[in-house]
C-alpha cells in the first residue's frame, strides 16, 4: 500500500513540471494553432543565463529569477516578431517546422556557450530535502513545483476568461480576420502570447535546474508536456494539467508494477490511445471551424 501511495505521490510530483510545459504549449496553440517545439529550448536558454548570472556575476536569487522571467518574456516575443511573423505564406505545418529549427538553434547556442559538463543551479530550496507524509516522501522542490503549476494554471485560466487581453487572445484564435476587424492588433496579440508562454516554460526550467542542468534537460519535460496537452485536447488549460498528472501517475505506477524498462515510453503510448479513442482530446470542447 505504501508503495502504491508513494508511486502516486511521485507521479503527481513529476507531473507538475510536465504540467507547466503543457500549459506553455497550450497557450501558444490556443491562439495560433502552432505546436511550439522550441518551448523547452526557449526555457533552456533563460535557465542557463540565470545560472551564469548567479554563479559568475553574484546576482541575488530574486534579481536573477526576476531577470530570467523578464528575459523569457522578451525572448518569446522576439522570436515571434523576428522569425515566425516573417514566414511567407504561413501555414501551420510550416510554422511547426520553423519551431523545430528554432529548437535546434537554441540548443546549439547553449551547448556552444556553456559546454558539455553538467551543472547545477544553486537554489534557496534543496532538491534533495524531503517532506514526509506518513511513510510517503516528496521533495521540497517538488512541493514548490506543484504549487507553482496549480497557481499558474489558475492565473492563466482567470486571465483568459476575464481580462480584456485574454479575451482578445481567444478571439484571435477563433477568427483572426474578424478579430482584426474589431480592432484587435492580432500580430501584437500573438507576440504577447509567445511572451507569456515563454515565461511559463521558463518557470518549469527554473524548477528543474536545481537538480542537474545540461543542454538536453528540457527535451523530456517538453515531450511529456506535449503529451499531456494532447491528452487534454491542446486547447484546455485545466485539461493539460490534468493530463500531465495523469501521465506522471501512470508512468510511475507502470514503472513500479509493470515494467520499469518501458516506463518512459508509456506516455507516448497513452497519446496514441487517446488519439484513437477521442481524437479531440479528453477535455476539448470540440471546436469546428465554419467554412
Amino acid at each position: 500500500m505504501i508503495g502504491f501511495l508513494q508511486a502516486v505521490t511521485s507521479g503527481i510530483a513529476v507531473g507538475s513540471s510536465y504540467a507547466l510545459m503543457g500549459l506553455a504549449m497550450v497557450i501558444i496553440y490556443k491562439t495560433s494553432e502552432v505546436v511550439n517545439f522550441a518551448q523547452g529550448e526557449m526555457a533552456l536558454l533563460s535557465c542557463f543565463l540565470t545560472y551564469m548570472v548567479l554563479e559568475f556575476y553574484g546576482f541575488s536569487f530574486l534579481a536573477a529569477f526576476a531577470g530570467a522571467l523578464a528575459f523569457a518574456a522578451f525572448l518569446g516575443g522576439f522570436l515571434e516578431f523576428a522569425v515566425l511573423r516573417r514566414a511567407k505564406e504561413p501555414n501551420v505545418l510550416g510554422m511547426i517546422i520553423i519551431t523545430i529549427g528554432l529548437e535546434m538553434i537554441l540548443m546549439g547556442i547553449v551547448s556552444w556557450k556553456f559546454g558539455a559538463d553538467p551543472k547545477t543551479m544553486s537554489f534557496p530550496i534543496s532538491p534533495y530535502d524531503s517532506v514526509a507524509i506518513g511513510e510517503v516522501f516528496v521533495s521540497s522542490l517538488e512541493v514548490l513545483t506543484f504549487i507553482v503549476a496549480l497557481t499558474v494554471m489558475a492565473v492563466l485560466f482567470l486571465f483568459l476568461r476575464y481580462s480584456k487581453l485574454g479575451v482578445a487572445m481567444k478571439a484571435t484564435q477563433q477568427n483572426s480576420m474578424a478579430a482584426r476587424l474589431m480592432g484587435i492588433r492580432t500580430n501584437r496579440i500573438l507576440m504577447i502570447t509567445w511572451g507569456i508562454s515563454s515565461v511559463v516554460g521558463c518557470l518549469a526550467g527554473l524548477l528543474i535546474s536545481p537538480i542537474t542542468m545540461q543542454p538536453y534537460m528540457m527535451w523530456d519535460p517538453m515531450l511529456k508536456g506535449f503529451a499531456a496537452a494532447v491528452m487534454g485536447g491542446m486547447t484546455s488549460l485545466p485539461g493539460s494539467v490534468f493530463g500531465a498528472y495523469l501521465i506522471g501517475i501512470i508512468e510511475n505506477l507502470f514503472g513500479s508494477y509493470v515494467s520499469i524498462e518501458f516506463k518512459s515510453v508509456v506516455a507516448f503510448a497513452i497519446i496514441v490511445l487517446v488519439l484513437c479513442i477521442k481524437p479531440s482530446g479528453l477535455f476539448a470542447r470540440h471546436y469546428v471551424k465554419k467554412v
Partner: protein, 396 residues
Amino acid sequence: MKRILLALSIVGMVLGVSLGAAAEQGVTDTEIHIGQWGPQTGPAAPWGSVARGADAYFKMINAEGGINGRKIVYHMFDDGYNPAKTKAGVKELQENIGMFAYTGGVGTACGLSVLDYLMDRKIPWVGPSAGSLDWIHPPHKYLFAVYPLYYIEAKALCRYAIKNLGKKRVAIAYQNDDYGKNGVKGAEEELASNGLKLVAEVPVEKSDTDMKSHVMKLKNAKADVVLLWVTPIHAVRIVGTGRALRFAPQWMSTSTCSDFPLMYTISKGLWGGVIATTFGELPDSDNPLMMKYKKEAFDKFAAKGERWGVFYTAGITFAEPLIEGIKRCGRDLTRERLVKEMEGIRNFKGIGGRISYAPFDVSKPYECRQGMKEVYLVKCLKGGEYEKLSDWMEIR
C-alpha cells in the same frame, strides 16, 4: 627504342604498384592520421573530454618533434553518444580522408556499431573508451583494449563491499545496454562466489529523467550497497532521489563516474562518501609523467575552460600504448607492423595501470588483447577530493 620504352614503362608500372602497396593508408612521409569519436553534446557529454585529452597529448607529441619524423594529424568528431552517428562519422573519416588507426572512442554501443567495419578493413583500434567484454569476446587481431573491464570493476567493488564493509545485500542500477549489463555480470559472479545474489537489478534507460520508481525498487529490496552502472547525470539523479526518499545505502560506481570534483559539484555534495573504481593516476597526482602531461599538454594545448579531470587524462591513457606501438615501428609504419609491435608490449607503464599484450591467440583473449588488468578503489571526500582505499588490484 620502342622495346626499351615498353620495358621501362613496365618496370615503372611494377615499381609504382609495389610502391603503392608499401604506402599504408593514413600514413605519409610526414603525417600519421588518427581518428576518434566522442560525445561533445547529449547526456554522455561529460565523457567527451576523453577525445579532447587525446588531442592535447598528440599536440604535445607533435611539439616535441613528432614520432620518427612524422606528425600526428588527429581527427575527432561528435557523435552525441549515438551509435548511428558514430558509424556515419567513422565511414566518412575512413572513406574521405583515410585513418591509419583509431584510438579511444566513448561508448560500448557506439564502439560496437563500428567494430565490424574497422576489423573487416584491418584498421587498428587501440583503447576503446569503454570497459566492455565485447572487445575481447571474441578477440580481434586489430583491436587492443586498454580500459579495464567493467566486469572486473564490478567484481572489485563487490569484493570490497563484502570483505571490507561486511555488506550482504548488494543491488545494481544499470544502464540497459552492454555497458550496464557488463556490470551486472561481474557483480553476479563475484556475489555467487560468496554464496550471495543481487537483491535487485534495476534497468535505467538513457532517456529516463525521473528516477523515483527505480529508487523505490532499490529501497524495497532493502539493499545496503547499490552499484551505479549509469551515466554521471543518472547517477546523480539516483543518489539525489535516494536522499529525498530517505534511502541511504553505500553507493558505489564505476570509473565512468569517478570524476569526483564534477560529481561532487553537480550533486550538491551528495557524492561525498561514494566509492568508485579507477584505473589512472589521479588528477592531483605527483607522478612525474602526470606532471609532465599537465604542464606540456594540458597547460599549453587545452581549450579555455577545459578541466584537468579524470576523463581528460583517461583520453591520454588510452592513446599512450598506441603511441608506444607507433614509436616501436620506426620509419616502417604499416598496420601489420604496428600489430606486431603492440603485441610485444609488456608491463608498459604510462599514467594508468600496467599494460601488456601478447601475440594473437583466440583461446587467450584476456591475455592477448586486454591491455590493462588492474584497478584500484577511491572514495569521494568533501569537496570532491579523493581518498585511496586500496592498492592496484589485479582481479580475474
